[in-house]
Symmetry: C2
Subunit: 326 residues, 2 copies
Protein backbone atom coordinates (compact mmCIF):
# COMPACT_ATOMS: atom_id res chain seq x y z
CA UNK A 1 0.00 0.00 0.00
CA UNK A 2 1.11 3.61 -0.52
CA UNK A 3 3.70 2.57 -3.07
CA UNK A 4 6.29 5.26 -2.46
CA UNK A 5 10.00 4.69 -2.19
CA UNK A 6 11.46 3.43 1.07
CA UNK A 7 13.30 6.78 1.15
CA UNK A 8 9.98 8.34 2.04
CA UNK A 9 10.63 8.55 5.77
CA UNK A 10 9.41 11.52 7.83
CA UNK A 11 11.71 13.83 9.75
CA UNK A 12 11.15 15.83 12.92
CA UNK A 13 9.56 18.67 10.94
CA UNK A 14 6.96 16.24 9.60
CA UNK A 15 6.10 15.21 13.15
CA UNK A 16 5.68 18.82 14.25
CA UNK A 17 3.45 19.39 11.22
CA UNK A 18 1.47 16.27 12.11
CA UNK A 19 1.02 17.54 15.65
CA UNK A 20 -0.42 20.83 14.40
CA UNK A 21 -2.58 19.04 11.84
CA UNK A 22 -4.23 16.55 14.21
CA UNK A 23 -4.35 18.66 17.38
CA UNK A 24 -8.07 19.38 17.20
CA UNK A 25 -9.00 15.73 16.75
CA UNK A 26 -6.54 13.80 18.85
CA UNK A 27 -6.76 13.68 22.61
CA UNK A 28 -3.83 15.12 24.58
CA UNK A 29 -3.39 12.01 26.71
CA UNK A 30 -2.14 12.25 30.29
CA UNK A 31 1.38 11.41 31.40
CA UNK A 32 1.26 9.55 34.72
CA UNK A 33 4.08 8.98 37.16
CA UNK A 34 3.30 6.75 40.11
CA UNK A 35 5.53 6.27 43.12
CA UNK A 36 4.33 2.67 43.56
CA UNK A 37 5.26 1.83 39.98
CA UNK A 38 8.59 3.62 40.38
CA UNK A 39 9.28 1.56 43.46
CA UNK A 40 8.47 -1.68 41.64
CA UNK A 41 10.64 -0.76 38.65
CA UNK A 42 13.52 1.00 40.39
CA UNK A 43 13.38 4.03 38.12
CA UNK A 44 11.27 7.12 37.48
CA UNK A 45 8.70 6.01 34.92
CA UNK A 46 6.53 8.49 32.99
CA UNK A 47 3.70 6.70 31.26
CA UNK A 48 2.16 8.38 28.22
CA UNK A 49 -1.32 6.89 28.39
CA UNK A 50 -2.33 6.26 24.81
CA UNK A 51 -4.70 3.62 26.14
CA UNK A 52 -6.82 6.69 26.93
CA UNK A 53 -6.50 7.99 23.35
CA UNK A 54 -9.66 8.08 21.23
CA UNK A 55 -10.40 4.56 19.93
CA UNK A 56 -8.29 3.27 22.84
CA UNK A 57 -4.88 3.31 21.14
CA UNK A 58 -2.13 5.55 19.69
CA UNK A 59 -3.21 4.34 16.24
CA UNK A 60 -5.70 7.20 16.04
CA UNK A 61 -2.79 9.65 15.75
CA UNK A 62 -1.34 8.11 12.61
CA UNK A 63 -4.75 7.49 11.05
CA UNK A 64 -5.79 11.10 11.70
CA UNK A 65 -2.61 12.41 10.14
CA UNK A 66 -2.96 10.22 7.06
CA UNK A 67 -6.56 11.34 6.54
CA UNK A 68 -5.68 15.01 7.12
CA UNK A 69 -2.92 14.74 4.50
CA UNK A 70 -5.41 13.42 1.95
CA UNK A 71 -7.59 16.45 2.61
CA UNK A 72 -4.65 18.86 2.28
CA UNK A 73 -3.69 17.26 -1.02
CA UNK A 74 -7.25 17.53 -2.28
CA UNK A 75 -7.55 13.75 -2.60
CA UNK A 76 -11.20 12.74 -2.31
CA UNK A 77 -12.51 9.23 -1.79
CA UNK A 78 -12.81 6.40 0.65
CA UNK A 79 -9.86 4.64 2.23
CA UNK A 80 -8.97 0.98 2.67
CA UNK A 81 -6.69 -0.97 4.93
CA UNK A 82 -6.16 -4.35 6.49
CA UNK A 83 -6.11 -4.72 10.22
CA UNK A 84 -7.24 -7.26 12.76
CA UNK A 85 -6.89 -4.68 15.47
CA UNK A 86 -6.55 -1.09 16.55
CA UNK A 87 -5.57 0.50 13.21
CA UNK A 88 -8.90 -0.51 11.67
CA UNK A 89 -10.95 1.20 14.37
CA UNK A 90 -8.68 4.24 14.33
CA UNK A 91 -8.90 4.65 10.57
CA UNK A 92 -12.67 4.15 10.68
CA UNK A 93 -13.11 7.05 13.10
CA UNK A 94 -10.54 9.31 11.43
CA UNK A 95 -12.22 8.74 8.07
CA UNK A 96 -15.72 9.29 9.41
CA UNK A 97 -14.73 12.58 11.04
CA UNK A 98 -13.54 13.68 7.59
CA UNK A 99 -16.72 12.56 5.83
CA UNK A 100 -15.18 9.43 4.30
CA UNK A 101 -15.69 5.73 4.80
CA UNK A 102 -12.93 3.35 5.78
CA UNK A 103 -13.06 -0.16 4.33
CA UNK A 104 -11.26 -2.58 6.60
CA UNK A 105 -10.15 -6.03 5.52
CA UNK A 106 -10.29 -8.26 8.60
CA UNK A 107 -9.64 -11.97 9.02
CA UNK A 108 -12.92 -13.76 9.70
CA UNK A 109 -11.51 -14.98 13.06
CA UNK A 110 -10.96 -11.46 14.43
CA UNK A 111 -12.16 -10.85 17.98
CA UNK A 112 -15.75 -9.76 18.46
CA UNK A 113 -14.65 -6.66 20.34
CA UNK A 114 -12.40 -5.49 17.51
CA UNK A 115 -15.07 -6.15 14.89
CA UNK A 116 -17.59 -4.17 16.90
CA UNK A 117 -15.17 -1.29 17.34
CA UNK A 118 -14.64 -0.90 13.58
CA UNK A 119 -18.39 -0.98 12.99
CA UNK A 120 -19.10 1.42 15.82
CA UNK A 121 -16.78 4.01 14.31
CA UNK A 122 -18.49 3.68 10.95
CA UNK A 123 -16.01 1.39 9.19
CA UNK A 124 -17.10 -1.17 6.55
CA UNK A 125 -15.68 -4.59 7.16
CA UNK A 126 -14.60 -6.99 4.42
CA UNK A 127 -13.93 -10.39 5.91
CA UNK A 128 -11.29 -12.67 4.43
CA UNK A 129 -9.68 -15.99 5.24
CA UNK A 130 -7.01 -15.59 7.93
CA UNK A 131 -4.03 -15.78 5.57
CA UNK A 132 -1.70 -13.11 4.18
CA UNK A 133 -2.64 -14.02 0.61
CA UNK A 134 -6.37 -13.75 1.19
CA UNK A 135 -5.89 -10.45 2.95
CA UNK A 136 -3.73 -9.02 0.15
CA UNK A 137 -6.18 -10.19 -2.51
CA UNK A 138 -9.15 -8.66 -0.75
CA UNK A 139 -7.34 -5.36 -0.29
CA UNK A 140 -6.27 -5.33 -3.93
CA UNK A 141 -9.88 -5.65 -4.98
CA UNK A 142 -10.77 -2.58 -2.92
CA UNK A 143 -7.88 -0.56 -4.34
CA UNK A 144 -8.81 -1.63 -7.86
CA UNK A 145 -12.29 -0.29 -7.08
CA UNK A 146 -10.71 3.15 -6.44
CA UNK A 147 -10.12 3.20 -2.70
CA UNK A 148 -7.04 4.81 -1.24
CA UNK A 149 -4.85 2.34 0.65
CA UNK A 150 -3.51 3.39 4.06
CA UNK A 151 -0.95 0.92 5.37
CA UNK A 152 -1.10 0.40 9.16
CA UNK A 153 2.60 1.25 9.72
CA UNK A 154 4.76 1.25 6.59
CA UNK A 155 3.60 4.72 5.58
CA UNK A 156 5.30 8.07 6.18
CA UNK A 157 2.14 9.88 7.31
CA UNK A 158 1.28 7.11 9.74
CA UNK A 159 4.82 7.16 11.18
CA UNK A 160 4.73 10.96 11.57
CA UNK A 161 1.36 10.76 13.33
CA UNK A 162 2.51 8.07 15.76
CA UNK A 163 5.56 10.20 16.55
CA UNK A 164 3.34 12.91 18.04
CA UNK A 165 2.81 10.81 21.18
CA UNK A 166 6.52 10.98 22.03
CA UNK A 167 6.57 14.67 21.13
CA UNK A 168 3.81 15.35 23.65
CA UNK A 169 5.57 13.18 26.21
CA UNK A 170 8.77 15.23 25.89
CA UNK A 171 6.84 18.46 25.99
CA UNK A 172 5.21 17.32 29.25
CA UNK A 173 8.28 15.86 30.96
CA UNK A 174 11.62 17.63 30.66
CA UNK A 175 14.93 15.79 30.53
CA UNK A 176 13.82 12.23 29.87
CA UNK A 177 16.89 10.02 29.49
CA UNK A 178 15.20 7.09 27.77
CA UNK A 179 11.99 6.31 25.93
CA UNK A 180 10.60 2.83 25.43
CA UNK A 181 7.77 1.58 23.20
CA UNK A 182 6.47 -1.77 21.97
CA UNK A 183 7.29 -2.94 18.42
CA UNK A 184 4.64 -4.56 16.24
CA UNK A 185 4.93 -3.36 12.64
CA UNK A 186 7.16 -0.56 13.88
CA UNK A 187 5.00 2.54 13.32
CA UNK A 188 5.15 3.70 16.93
CA UNK A 189 8.83 3.03 17.57
CA UNK A 190 9.97 4.64 14.32
CA UNK A 191 7.86 7.77 14.92
CA UNK A 192 9.17 7.89 18.48
CA UNK A 193 12.80 7.57 17.40
CA UNK A 194 12.43 10.38 14.88
CA UNK A 195 10.54 12.60 17.35
CA UNK A 196 13.13 12.22 20.10
CA UNK A 197 16.35 12.13 18.07
CA UNK A 198 17.21 15.79 18.50
CA UNK A 199 16.94 15.46 22.27
CA UNK A 200 19.58 12.80 22.68
CA UNK A 201 17.14 10.39 24.28
CA UNK A 202 18.01 6.70 24.06
CA UNK A 203 15.12 4.82 22.42
CA UNK A 204 14.38 1.19 23.30
CA UNK A 205 11.88 -1.13 21.65
CA UNK A 206 10.24 -4.23 23.08
CA UNK A 207 8.93 -7.36 21.39
CA UNK A 208 7.31 -10.43 22.89
CA UNK A 209 9.62 -13.47 22.75
CA UNK A 210 7.01 -15.12 20.55
CA UNK A 211 6.99 -12.29 17.98
CA UNK A 212 10.60 -11.10 17.96
CA UNK A 213 10.83 -10.70 14.20
CA UNK A 214 12.44 -7.26 14.44
CA UNK A 215 15.24 -8.52 16.64
CA UNK A 216 15.76 -11.45 14.28
CA UNK A 217 15.78 -9.05 11.33
CA UNK A 218 18.36 -6.82 13.01
CA UNK A 219 20.58 -9.81 13.68
CA UNK A 220 20.19 -10.97 10.10
CA UNK A 221 20.65 -7.48 8.65
CA UNK A 222 17.42 -7.72 6.65
CA UNK A 223 13.75 -8.22 7.36
CA UNK A 224 12.90 -11.87 7.92
CA UNK A 225 10.69 -13.20 5.17
CA UNK A 226 8.07 -14.74 7.43
CA UNK A 227 7.53 -15.96 10.96
CA UNK A 228 4.77 -17.51 13.04
CA UNK A 229 3.92 -15.26 15.96
CA UNK A 230 3.00 -16.94 19.23
CA UNK A 231 2.21 -14.42 21.96
CA UNK A 232 -0.69 -13.03 23.98
CA UNK A 233 0.30 -9.54 22.75
CA UNK A 234 -2.12 -9.53 19.84
CA UNK A 235 -1.14 -6.02 18.76
CA UNK A 236 2.49 -7.02 18.16
CA UNK A 237 2.14 -9.95 15.80
CA UNK A 238 2.78 -8.03 12.59
CA UNK A 239 6.05 -8.23 10.70
CA UNK A 240 8.16 -5.07 10.77
CA UNK A 241 7.74 -2.71 7.80
CA UNK A 242 10.43 -1.51 5.38
CA UNK A 243 10.50 2.14 6.44
CA UNK A 244 10.10 1.13 10.06
CA UNK A 245 12.98 -1.33 9.95
CA UNK A 246 15.27 1.25 8.45
CA UNK A 247 14.54 3.77 11.22
CA UNK A 248 14.89 1.11 13.91
CA UNK A 249 18.25 -0.06 12.55
CA UNK A 250 19.64 3.45 12.46
CA UNK A 251 18.11 5.08 15.50
CA UNK A 252 16.96 2.59 18.11
CA UNK A 253 19.47 1.80 20.85
CA UNK A 254 18.34 -1.75 21.56
CA UNK A 255 15.41 -4.13 21.04
CA UNK A 256 14.48 -6.11 24.15
CA UNK A 257 12.21 -9.13 24.49
CA UNK A 258 9.82 -10.19 27.23
CA UNK A 259 7.97 -13.44 27.89
CA UNK A 260 4.19 -13.76 27.97
CA UNK A 261 4.32 -14.45 31.71
CA UNK A 262 6.27 -11.24 32.24
CA UNK A 263 3.62 -9.43 30.22
CA UNK A 264 0.85 -10.87 32.42
CA UNK A 265 2.64 -9.72 35.57
CA UNK A 266 3.15 -6.26 34.11
CA UNK A 267 -0.59 -6.01 33.30
CA UNK A 268 -1.36 -6.76 36.95
CA UNK A 269 1.26 -4.26 38.13
CA UNK A 270 -0.20 -1.55 35.87
CA UNK A 271 -3.65 -2.09 37.31
CA UNK A 272 -2.38 -2.23 40.86
CA UNK A 273 -0.37 0.98 40.62
CA UNK A 274 -1.91 3.08 37.83
CA UNK A 275 -5.51 1.84 38.02
CA UNK A 276 -5.41 1.26 34.28
CA UNK A 277 -6.48 -1.87 32.44
CA UNK A 278 -4.01 -2.15 29.59
CA UNK A 279 -3.74 -4.61 26.75
CA UNK A 280 -0.83 -7.09 26.68
CA UNK A 281 1.02 -5.15 23.97
CA UNK A 282 1.15 -2.10 26.24
CA UNK A 283 2.44 -4.05 29.20
CA UNK A 284 5.58 -5.15 27.34
CA UNK A 285 7.31 -1.86 28.10
CA UNK A 286 6.71 -2.19 31.84
CA UNK A 287 7.94 -5.79 31.77
CA UNK A 288 11.10 -4.82 29.89
CA UNK A 289 11.99 -1.99 32.27
CA UNK A 290 11.47 -4.35 35.18
CA UNK A 291 13.73 -6.96 33.55
CA UNK A 292 16.63 -4.60 32.91
CA UNK A 293 17.72 -2.60 35.95
CA UNK A 294 21.18 -2.42 34.39
CA UNK A 295 19.69 -0.28 31.62
CA UNK A 296 16.91 1.63 33.36
CA UNK A 297 17.72 1.57 37.08
CA UNK A 298 17.58 5.08 38.58
CA UNK A 299 16.85 6.68 35.18
CA UNK A 300 14.10 9.00 34.05
CA UNK A 301 12.22 6.82 31.57
CA UNK A 302 9.33 7.68 29.27
CA UNK A 303 7.08 4.80 28.22
CA UNK A 304 4.32 4.81 25.65
CA UNK A 305 1.38 2.81 26.97
CA UNK A 306 0.12 1.93 23.53
CA UNK A 307 -3.45 0.75 24.02
CA UNK A 308 -6.23 -0.36 26.31
CA UNK A 309 -8.48 -2.37 24.04
CA UNK A 310 -8.94 -5.52 26.01
CA UNK A 311 -12.16 -6.97 27.30
CA UNK A 312 -12.07 -6.91 31.15
CA UNK A 313 -12.98 -10.58 31.09
CA UNK A 314 -10.01 -11.38 28.86
CA UNK A 315 -7.79 -9.22 31.05
CA UNK A 316 -8.84 -11.24 34.07
CA UNK A 317 -8.36 -14.56 32.31
CA UNK A 318 -4.86 -13.59 31.19
CA UNK A 319 -3.65 -12.14 34.48
CA UNK A 320 -5.12 -14.94 36.57
CA UNK A 321 -3.26 -17.51 34.59
CA UNK A 322 -0.18 -15.34 34.97
CA UNK A 323 -0.37 -15.26 38.75
CA UNK A 324 -0.71 -19.03 38.78
CA UNK A 325 2.19 -19.74 36.48
CA UNK A 326 4.54 -16.97 37.58
Amino acid sequence: MNQKSVEDIPDIADIHLAQARIRARVRMTPVINDSGLDHALGCRMYCKCENLQRTGAFKFRGASNAIARLREDGTAGDVATHSSGNHGAALALAARLDGRTAHVVMPENSSRMKIEAVREYGGRIHFCAPTNDARAAELEKLVAAGMIPIHPYDNADIIAGQGTAALELQQAVPALEQVITPIGGGGLISGTAIATRAWGVAVYGVEPEGAADTLASLQRGAIVASFNPDTIADGLRAIVGQRNFRVIREQVRQVLTVSDDEIREAMTLAWHTLRLLIEPSSATVIAAVRNHPELFGGRKVGAIISGGNIDPEDWLALTRRGSGSA
Copy 2:
Protein backbone atom coordinates in the same frame (compact mmCIF):
# COMPACT_ATOMS: atom_id res chain seq x y z
CA MET B 1 -13.48 14.44 65.38
CA ASN B 2 -11.93 17.89 64.87
CA GLN B 3 -14.35 19.41 67.32
CA LYS B 4 -14.60 22.88 65.86
CA SER B 5 -17.77 24.82 65.39
CA VAL B 6 -20.01 24.06 62.43
CA GLU B 7 -19.26 27.62 61.34
CA ASP B 8 -15.80 26.42 60.42
CA ILE B 9 -16.48 26.06 56.71
CA PRO B 10 -13.85 26.90 54.09
CA ASP B 11 -14.28 29.59 51.45
CA ILE B 12 -12.86 29.89 47.95
CA ALA B 13 -9.64 31.41 49.30
CA ASP B 14 -9.10 28.31 51.43
CA ILE B 15 -9.45 26.14 48.36
CA HIS B 16 -6.90 28.20 46.44
CA LEU B 17 -4.55 27.93 49.42
CA ALA B 18 -5.14 24.19 49.53
CA GLN B 19 -4.31 23.94 45.84
CA ALA B 20 -0.97 25.68 46.34
CA ARG B 21 -0.27 23.64 49.46
CA ILE B 22 -0.82 20.18 47.96
CA ARG B 23 0.34 20.84 44.39
CA ALA B 24 3.64 19.02 44.74
CA ARG B 25 2.05 15.88 46.15
CA VAL B 26 -1.26 15.54 44.38
CA ARG B 27 -1.51 14.38 40.80
CA MET B 28 -3.01 16.80 38.29
CA THR B 29 -5.55 14.31 36.96
CA PRO B 30 -6.68 14.39 33.34
CA VAL B 31 -9.99 15.76 32.15
CA ILE B 32 -11.39 13.53 29.43
CA ASN B 33 -14.13 14.32 26.96
CA ASP B 34 -15.25 11.47 24.74
CA SER B 35 -17.53 11.79 21.75
CA GLY B 36 -18.98 8.32 22.33
CA LEU B 37 -19.90 9.20 25.90
CA ASP B 38 -21.31 12.54 24.76
CA HIS B 39 -23.44 10.72 22.23
CA ALA B 40 -24.75 8.32 24.87
CA LEU B 41 -25.54 11.13 27.32
CA GLY B 42 -26.73 13.83 24.94
CA CYS B 43 -24.46 16.50 26.39
CA ARG B 44 -20.82 17.54 26.44
CA MET B 45 -19.35 15.72 29.42
CA TYR B 46 -15.93 16.59 30.87
CA CYS B 47 -14.77 13.90 33.25
CA LYS B 48 -12.23 14.89 35.89
CA CYS B 49 -10.57 11.51 36.42
CA GLU B 50 -9.88 11.30 40.13
CA ASN B 51 -9.89 7.54 39.74
CA LEU B 52 -6.39 8.19 38.40
CA GLN B 53 -5.44 10.25 41.47
CA ARG B 54 -2.80 8.81 43.81
CA THR B 55 -4.39 6.10 46.02
CA GLY B 56 -7.09 5.81 43.32
CA ALA B 57 -9.50 8.45 44.64
CA PHE B 58 -10.01 12.21 45.21
CA LYS B 59 -9.64 11.49 48.95
CA PHE B 60 -5.89 12.00 48.66
CA ARG B 61 -6.51 15.72 48.07
CA GLY B 62 -8.29 16.34 51.35
CA ALA B 63 -5.97 14.09 53.31
CA SER B 64 -2.91 15.85 51.89
CA ASN B 65 -4.36 19.25 52.76
CA ALA B 66 -5.21 18.21 56.31
CA ILE B 67 -1.71 16.84 56.88
CA ALA B 68 -0.06 19.91 55.34
CA ARG B 69 -2.09 22.14 57.66
CA LEU B 70 -0.82 20.21 60.69
CA ARG B 71 2.73 20.84 59.51
CA GLU B 72 2.06 24.56 58.93
CA ASP B 73 0.61 24.83 62.41
CA GLY B 74 3.61 23.06 63.91
CA THR B 75 1.43 20.23 65.17
CA ALA B 76 3.52 17.08 65.48
CA GLY B 77 2.21 13.57 66.00
CA ASP B 78 0.39 10.72 64.36
CA VAL B 79 -3.12 10.93 63.01
CA ALA B 80 -6.18 8.74 63.42
CA THR B 81 -9.39 8.24 61.49
CA HIS B 82 -12.10 5.73 60.78
CA SER B 83 -12.72 4.57 57.25
CA SER B 84 -13.72 1.38 55.56
CA GLY B 85 -12.57 2.78 52.27
CA ASN B 86 -10.63 5.33 50.31
CA HIS B 87 -10.06 7.94 53.04
CA GLY B 88 -8.03 5.46 55.10
CA ALA B 89 -5.62 4.69 52.27
CA ALA B 90 -5.37 8.37 51.32
CA LEU B 91 -4.61 9.47 54.87
CA ALA B 92 -2.07 6.66 55.25
CA LEU B 93 -0.09 7.86 52.23
CA ALA B 94 -0.43 11.58 53.03
CA ALA B 95 0.78 10.93 56.58
CA ARG B 96 3.67 8.75 55.48
CA LEU B 97 4.88 11.36 52.99
CA ASP B 98 4.99 13.78 55.92
CA GLY B 99 6.86 11.37 58.20
CA ARG B 100 3.81 10.48 60.30
CA THR B 101 1.80 7.35 60.79
CA ALA B 102 -1.95 7.15 60.19
CA HIS B 103 -3.97 4.88 62.47
CA VAL B 104 -7.10 3.71 60.70
CA VAL B 105 -10.06 2.19 62.51
CA MET B 106 -11.68 -0.28 60.10
CA PRO B 107 -14.60 -2.65 60.57
CA GLU B 108 -13.31 -6.22 60.64
CA ASN B 109 -15.46 -7.06 57.61
CA SER B 110 -13.77 -4.50 55.33
CA SER B 111 -12.78 -5.72 51.87
CA ARG B 112 -9.39 -7.35 51.49
CA MET B 113 -8.41 -4.87 48.80
CA LYS B 114 -9.10 -1.86 51.03
CA ILE B 115 -7.25 -3.40 53.99
CA GLU B 116 -4.25 -4.11 51.78
CA ALA B 117 -4.28 -0.56 50.42
CA VAL B 118 -4.09 1.01 53.89
CA ARG B 119 -1.22 -1.31 54.82
CA GLU B 120 0.59 -0.74 51.55
CA TYR B 121 0.64 3.00 52.15
CA GLY B 122 2.04 2.51 55.63
CA GLY B 123 -1.17 2.90 57.68
CA ARG B 124 -1.72 1.01 60.95
CA ILE B 125 -5.08 -0.72 61.07
CA HIS B 126 -7.20 -1.09 64.23
CA PHE B 127 -10.02 -3.50 63.57
CA CYS B 128 -13.35 -3.07 65.31
CA ALA B 129 -16.80 -4.64 65.22
CA PRO B 130 -18.83 -3.32 62.26
CA THR B 131 -21.01 -0.94 64.29
CA ASN B 132 -20.92 2.81 64.76
CA ASP B 133 -20.49 2.45 68.50
CA ALA B 134 -17.52 0.10 68.24
CA ARG B 135 -15.92 2.37 65.68
CA ALA B 136 -16.38 5.49 67.81
CA ALA B 137 -15.05 3.72 70.91
CA GLU B 138 -11.95 2.50 69.13
CA LEU B 139 -11.25 5.93 67.69
CA GLU B 140 -11.71 7.57 71.08
CA LYS B 141 -9.06 5.28 72.51
CA LEU B 142 -6.60 6.40 69.85
CA VAL B 143 -7.37 10.07 70.44
CA ALA B 144 -7.02 9.57 74.20
CA ALA B 145 -3.58 8.13 73.43
CA GLY B 146 -2.62 11.46 71.81
CA MET B 147 -3.41 10.96 68.17
CA ILE B 148 -4.85 13.76 66.04
CA PRO B 149 -8.28 12.88 64.63
CA ILE B 150 -8.91 13.66 60.94
CA HIS B 151 -12.57 13.19 60.06
CA PRO B 152 -13.15 11.76 56.55
CA TYR B 153 -15.43 14.62 55.46
CA ASP B 154 -16.82 16.80 58.27
CA ASN B 155 -13.61 18.81 58.49
CA ALA B 156 -12.79 22.19 56.93
CA ASP B 157 -9.31 21.18 55.67
CA ILE B 158 -10.67 18.01 54.11
CA ILE B 159 -13.46 19.95 52.37
CA ALA B 160 -10.99 22.55 51.06
CA GLY B 161 -8.71 19.81 49.73
CA GLN B 162 -11.54 17.99 47.95
CA GLY B 163 -12.57 21.30 46.37
CA THR B 164 -9.28 21.47 44.47
CA ALA B 165 -10.51 18.81 42.02
CA ALA B 166 -13.29 21.12 40.82
CA LEU B 167 -10.89 24.05 40.74
CA GLU B 168 -8.57 22.14 38.41
CA LEU B 169 -11.54 21.06 36.32
CA GLN B 170 -12.61 24.66 35.81
CA GLN B 171 -9.09 25.75 35.09
CA ALA B 172 -8.89 23.06 32.40
CA VAL B 173 -12.32 23.55 30.82
CA PRO B 174 -13.68 27.05 30.36
CA ALA B 175 -17.36 27.89 30.64
CA LEU B 176 -18.77 24.78 32.25
CA GLU B 177 -22.48 25.24 32.88
CA GLN B 178 -22.92 22.47 35.43
CA VAL B 179 -20.82 20.29 37.69
CA ILE B 180 -21.96 17.00 39.16
CA THR B 181 -20.41 14.84 41.90
CA PRO B 182 -21.46 11.87 44.03
CA ILE B 183 -22.51 12.44 47.67
CA GLY B 184 -21.33 10.12 50.42
CA GLY B 185 -20.48 12.06 53.57
CA GLY B 186 -20.47 15.23 51.48
CA GLY B 187 -16.79 16.20 51.45
CA LEU B 188 -16.47 16.24 47.67
CA ILE B 189 -19.76 17.96 46.86
CA SER B 190 -19.30 20.68 49.47
CA GLY B 191 -15.75 21.42 48.34
CA THR B 192 -16.98 21.47 44.75
CA ALA B 193 -19.85 23.85 45.53
CA ILE B 194 -17.51 26.27 47.30
CA ALA B 195 -14.89 26.05 44.54
CA THR B 196 -17.33 26.76 41.74
CA ARG B 197 -19.64 29.26 43.41
CA ALA B 198 -17.96 32.37 42.00
CA TRP B 199 -18.31 31.01 38.48
CA GLY B 200 -22.06 30.70 38.51
CA VAL B 201 -21.96 26.98 37.80
CA ALA B 202 -24.97 24.93 38.85
CA VAL B 203 -23.86 22.11 41.15
CA TYR B 204 -25.70 18.78 41.28
CA GLY B 205 -25.15 15.91 43.68
CA VAL B 206 -26.03 12.25 43.22
CA GLU B 207 -26.90 9.57 45.74
CA PRO B 208 -27.77 5.92 45.22
CA GLU B 209 -31.48 5.24 45.89
CA GLY B 210 -30.35 2.93 48.66
CA ALA B 211 -28.29 5.61 50.43
CA ALA B 212 -30.26 8.80 49.82
CA ASP B 213 -29.82 10.17 53.32
CA THR B 214 -28.84 13.63 52.09
CA LEU B 215 -31.99 13.96 50.03
CA ALA B 216 -34.05 12.76 52.99
CA SER B 217 -32.25 15.26 55.22
CA LEU B 218 -32.92 18.11 52.80
CA GLN B 219 -36.61 17.23 52.68
CA ARG B 220 -36.73 17.02 56.47
CA GLY B 221 -34.68 20.20 56.97
CA ALA B 222 -32.19 18.45 59.26
CA ILE B 223 -29.80 15.54 59.05
CA VAL B 224 -31.56 12.21 59.48
CA ALA B 225 -30.46 10.51 62.68
CA SER B 226 -29.69 7.16 61.13
CA PHE B 227 -30.39 5.05 58.08
CA ASN B 228 -29.49 1.64 56.73
CA PRO B 229 -27.67 1.97 53.42
CA ASP B 230 -28.37 -0.65 50.76
CA THR B 231 -26.40 -0.02 47.59
CA ILE B 232 -23.49 -1.39 45.56
CA ALA B 233 -21.87 2.07 45.77
CA ASP B 234 -19.76 1.26 48.82
CA GLY B 235 -18.14 4.69 48.89
CA LEU B 236 -21.48 6.46 49.37
CA ARG B 237 -22.91 4.70 52.42
CA ALA B 238 -21.83 7.33 54.98
CA ILE B 239 -24.27 9.75 56.53
CA VAL B 240 -23.86 13.38 55.49
CA GLY B 241 -21.74 15.55 57.81
CA GLN B 242 -22.79 18.76 59.58
CA ARG B 243 -20.57 21.18 57.65
CA ASN B 244 -21.27 19.29 54.45
CA PHE B 245 -25.02 19.38 54.89
CA ARG B 246 -24.97 23.09 55.50
CA VAL B 247 -23.05 23.77 52.27
CA ILE B 248 -25.26 21.40 50.30
CA ARG B 249 -28.44 23.04 51.59
CA GLU B 250 -27.23 26.49 50.68
CA GLN B 251 -25.30 25.94 47.49
CA VAL B 252 -26.28 22.74 45.69
CA ARG B 253 -28.95 23.10 43.02
CA GLN B 254 -30.43 19.63 43.33
CA VAL B 255 -29.70 16.16 44.68
CA LEU B 256 -30.57 13.35 42.27
CA THR B 257 -30.82 9.62 42.89
CA VAL B 258 -29.94 6.62 40.75
CA SER B 259 -30.67 2.93 41.09
CA ASP B 260 -28.02 0.24 41.46
CA ASP B 261 -28.90 -1.11 38.02
CA GLU B 262 -28.38 2.32 36.51
CA ILE B 263 -25.00 2.44 38.27
CA ARG B 264 -24.05 -0.93 36.77
CA GLU B 265 -24.95 0.25 33.29
CA ALA B 266 -22.97 3.46 33.77
CA MET B 267 -19.90 1.44 34.83
CA THR B 268 -20.12 -0.50 31.58
CA LEU B 269 -20.62 2.68 29.57
CA ALA B 270 -17.55 4.27 31.22
CA TRP B 271 -15.41 1.29 30.28
CA HIS B 272 -16.80 1.12 26.79
CA THR B 273 -16.23 4.79 26.02
CA LEU B 274 -13.46 6.02 28.33
CA ARG B 275 -11.55 2.75 28.79
CA LEU B 276 -11.64 3.33 32.54
CA LEU B 277 -12.68 0.85 35.18
CA ILE B 278 -14.47 2.95 37.77
CA GLU B 279 -16.00 2.04 41.10
CA PRO B 280 -19.79 2.15 41.50
CA SER B 281 -19.70 5.44 43.45
CA SER B 282 -18.04 7.17 40.49
CA ALA B 283 -20.55 5.84 38.01
CA THR B 284 -23.47 7.52 39.76
CA VAL B 285 -22.74 10.84 38.05
CA ILE B 286 -22.84 9.27 34.60
CA ALA B 287 -26.07 7.47 35.45
CA ALA B 288 -27.67 10.68 36.72
CA VAL B 289 -26.76 12.71 33.64
CA ARG B 290 -28.13 9.94 31.47
CA ASN B 291 -31.38 9.91 33.47
CA HIS B 292 -32.00 13.63 33.23
CA PRO B 293 -31.81 15.02 29.71
CA GLU B 294 -34.20 17.78 30.84
CA LEU B 295 -31.42 19.06 33.13
CA PHE B 296 -28.25 18.22 31.25
CA GLY B 297 -29.24 17.78 27.59
CA GLY B 298 -27.01 19.84 25.30
CA ARG B 299 -25.12 21.36 28.23
CA LYS B 300 -21.42 21.57 29.00
CA VAL B 301 -21.18 19.41 32.11
CA GLY B 302 -18.23 18.73 34.39
CA ALA B 303 -18.28 15.46 36.33
CA ILE B 304 -15.95 14.34 39.05
CA ILE B 305 -15.13 10.66 38.56
CA SER B 306 -14.40 10.07 42.21
CA GLY B 307 -12.49 6.80 42.38
CA GLY B 308 -11.31 3.63 40.68
CA ASN B 309 -10.69 1.29 43.59
CA ILE B 310 -12.56 -1.77 42.53
CA ASP B 311 -11.19 -5.22 41.95
CA PRO B 312 -11.55 -6.07 38.22
CA GLU B 313 -13.23 -9.30 39.27
CA ASP B 314 -15.80 -7.41 41.34
CA TRP B 315 -16.28 -4.96 38.47
CA LEU B 316 -17.07 -7.85 36.16
CA ALA B 317 -19.41 -9.51 38.65
CA LEU B 318 -21.34 -6.25 39.15
CA THR B 319 -21.63 -5.27 35.49
CA ARG B 320 -22.49 -8.76 34.32
CA ARG B 321 -25.40 -8.92 36.69
CA GLY B 322 -26.37 -5.47 35.43
CA SER B 323 -26.55 -6.47 31.80
CA GLY B 324 -28.72 -9.43 32.75
CA SER B 325 -31.19 -7.47 34.83
CA ALA B 326 -31.27 -4.24 32.83
